[in-house]
Symmetry: C2
Subunit: 528 residues, 2 copies
């Protein structure tokens, strides 16, 4: 079914006609109209060819000096910045996210900075955790794993893009080729990114199949891809249902899969904090929920309060602000219908609709800013139902009788990416904070104080992860260098291996002064 | 069905009558006779009670200073050494392993040393990888995860015991309570160990349910245990079939499970190495295979050679030594019948029996020392079949036409714990080494040169792990401190958290001088 007007896929370094069973088009969410370019739904033939090419590239990459891989990441970052205008235009057309500041001034710089951070880590080799036990004659480090499949989400067309985002950067920096599966809501943006990647691959002389791109496959072929013996590991960010389907098949095949699935990101605000700075908190919260139309993995989808006048005032003020604000554009028709369904489900469980709700807007992808309310008793009767994620510009207020009930409600939470506690700045409610934080900390990957969770800094100390079902494993983060690289690596010990045969990172004398290694229990820059 | 003569289980700090559906007895493999003590097969009631008690203990442990947890591990190590005679006697009766040097002089000291290494790591907090980004205001470290279920294997009654071994030490040192599931082949040894653990728990004032012990459950209840919402993670060492059954259910529940399943541990010996030191290599190999009657996870079950006179001489000499040596005692009737079945299967695939084979010895648990041979062509026709693990005193010689065929055979290997290459000491076959090592390294957790794989040093650089199906994840090791601790931990970021609320490890000023922390990209001992 593929034709000359269908965009080609990127396999083995060539843009070539897809072996496809169908085509699809992205939607301009601002007009709710299909965009012109046709993209292929690949058959297994394309996946198979990509896996073969990636296998060869993975072998070749094992012999490439890591500085060269780092050069590619840097060069790619430069190219993204040079191509900014076209990238922003394409992403705006496909996602409806603001050209500025969001796409051009926040997300694109974040993406290139992330590539550069990965480059620096690749160059230093610090991430590999080189460990030397001179007495036992054993040395170990993390090493590349093989081809990595990356499935990117709809909500970050650059920063989490399967061919440019965090998983991509981490997998490449760890020495692996990537097979990118584009998100179907922004294929043209992904194509433009991959064009820059291809040029950077050529300029730096990496194996051509280091970066490959397929736009879409059947669910069956996607499952086959992540479980194929040639695949090393998979990074996935997206819907919980699709992610769990991939996880089941990858787990069965013994293939590591890292997933970021869903999170309601509870925010606890104490009465004392509301009394002290209620207006500021309304501002912070409304800004956080409505920014990017709430389409962040770390969007504060649930606020937990203690009943009383401060909570009621906060909720009233938020309600008024939500009602007064023009609803932002959502990423796609699927996002607006999913948001509408989630709000209906929450109302079905007994949540009270304070503002918003109803059906999606007709002439563009949008949904009324929505605020819901329930109480601690109702939450505790149906904690699973009230944790239904409403991805977008909606949030649920859970008003508890007291801190004991709030703690009980938190103890029923699933794993989340983040959890926040706002408390009085004078420490007068420190006991309540401690009670809340004790319950909340084990449930979340990142605990915040007095700060909304929507910003995810690229920091060595960042954990963009969390207990299941926020992610598939509580020990890994998808954002942050070096920790995100280790996901796509294998630990290897060299036992009694002759000195000249050791990987360069494990040899007595290092070629660079900057690599941290653990030698006999001490971290050091020094050669042996 | 439980009666006063049935050994009690250890739940919530008390030795109490099991809720059991049946009893079982261990076998003395030297006489192939049941031993007297009756042990309970617990119902779900026991598992449920243990999970509840562990949940409370996990909460309490979060507030216990880590020095106190370390004290427990040290105290337990001391107690094991003091109880050496009784422990060795029980383990000898249940496993047939030699009292000396194996049980008393090698494995028990290894076990107490491992507990002490875990104690030191717990005390220092180094394993938690404290990371501080002063600019972003974010700090992270690994933290306890919750109750850990440990299923120990049959072949190390002390060092991998579910209530004393590597997984136990790692889980406790990371701050988690352990629910130990005894291996059914050495329940009395496990009971004696748990008695010492209980006393050490009391002496150091840890929560009583920090250590709990159940002897056996139905397969169904075992699966329910590892997937229960109250469980944090599972460590499992044992048979591939049972491990994969647990993995499937744990994966589905989103519960981390670390498995050590099976490994044939290929050893490549080049013709030049055989010419140079053939007699020594025969010695090394025979010692490695027959030691402990070959019942090591890292037993060299497959030797890969290049056809010709050196290989034939090596094989002939090994055959003679195997035939001349009295077969050692195997751990249980199940191990001897399993070994017999594996040898039959290998012969069925076309392997030639050079010595040994047949049926297990009748009056004790034993099986003839067995050497099998096949060639590279046959291996490449059925690589899966020829990788059938024959756990015990047996090994398969795979004789290849040349190094290209040998490399092709290696490329068909599943993941293994170890892989070894013996080559000429003068470097004359360096090209062959490089060809072999390039294929072998991605397949194994530990690459060795000129050394048999059976020793597994407790070293920070050790990887006792490897790609699936050797283990369930290529990035983790079950032996070696600190890496083994991280398996039973959750990564937590503290973002903008007020200084006094941070975990002690992440506060500006540390209470100990010895903790390595990464501050703004540099590893340091210093306070901020």
């Amino acid at each position: 079914m593929s034709s000359s007007s269908t965009c080609p896929v990127l396999i083995a370094g060539e843009w070539r006609e897809a072996a496809s069973i169908a085509t699809f088009q992205a939607t301009d969410p601002n007009r709710r109209q299909l965009l012109a370019p046709l993209f292929p739904v690949s058959t297994w033939e394309d996946c198979d060819a990509a896996l073969d090419a990636a296998t060869s590239a993975a072998r070749e990459l094992r012999t490439v000096p890591r500085g060269k891989i780092a050069d590619f990441l840097d060069r790619y970052a430069d190219r993204l910045e040079a191509a900014k205008d076209a990238l922003v235009e394409a992403a705006f057309a496909e996602t409806g996210l603001a050209r500025s500041p969001r796409l051009g001034d926040v997300e694109l710089p974040r993406t290139s900075n992330q590539l550069r951070a990965a480059a620096a880590e690749c160059r230093s080799g610090n991430w590999a955790m080189a460990t030397i036990d001179t007495k036992a004659g054993i040395r170990s480090c993390f090493e590349s794993l093989g081809p990595v499949c990356v499935f990117g989400p709809n909500n970050f067309p650059f920063a989490f893009n399967s061919v440019a985002g965090g998983d991509f950067a981490a997998a490449i920096a760890a020495g692996n080729p990537v097979i990118a599966k584009a998100n179907s809501s922004h294929p043209e943006t992904t194509r433009l990114l991959a064009e820059q990647a291809t040029e950077a691959v050529k300029e730096t002389g990496l194996p051509p199949a280091t970066v490959q791109l397929i736009y879409r496959t059947s669910h069956e072929d996607g499952a086959r891809l992540v479980s194929d013996p040639r695949n090393g590991a998979t990074g996935y960010t997206g819907s919980r249902a699709a992610g769990l389907a991939l996880k089941a098949i990858a787990d069965k095949a013994g293939k590591p899969i890292y997933l970021e699935l869903s999170s309601v990101n509870p925010v606890v605000i104490t009465p004392a904090a509301l009394k002290e700075r209620g207006n500021d908190l309304v501002d912070e919260f409304v800004t956080s929920v409505l920014m990017g139309t709430g389409q962040f993995c770390t969007n504060p989808g649930m606020v937990m309060l203690i009943e009383g006048e401060p909570a009621n005032s906060f909720i009233d003020a938020v309600k008024d602000r939500f009602a007064a604000a023009e609803p932002g554009t959502l990423l796609s028709p699927a996002v607006s219908s999913s948001l509408s369904n989630s709000v209906k489900a929450l109302c079905g469980f007994g949540a009270k609709l304070l503002t918003g709700g109803g059906e999606p807007v007709a002439d563009r992808c949008a949904y009324a800013n929505t605020l819901l309310r329930t109480d601690g008793d109702a939450f505790l009767r149906n904690p699973e139902g009230f944790q239904t994620e409403a991805f977008g510009n909606a949030s649920l207020m859970v008003v508890c009788k007291n801190f004991d009930q709030l703690a009980a409600a938190i103890s029923m939470l699933e794993g989340n990416l983040t959890g926040c506690v706002y408390s009085s700045s004078d420490g007068s409610d420190e006991d309540a904070y401690q009670q809340v934080a004790f319950e909340l900390t084990p449930k979340v990957g990142r605990l915040l104080n007095d700060k909304m969770p929507t910003g995810v800094a690229v920091s060595p100390a960042m954990n963009h992860g969390g207990p299941y079902p926020a992610t598939g494993h509580p020990g890994f983060t998808s954002v942050g260098v070096p920790a995100s690289l280790v996901r796509f690596a294998k630990l290897t010990s060299y036992d009694n291996v002759r000195p000249h045969r050791l990987p360069e990172l494990l040899q007595d004398k290092k070629s660079t002064e900057k690599t941290w290694r653990n030698i006999d229990g001490n971290w050091t820059h020094a050669s042996l």
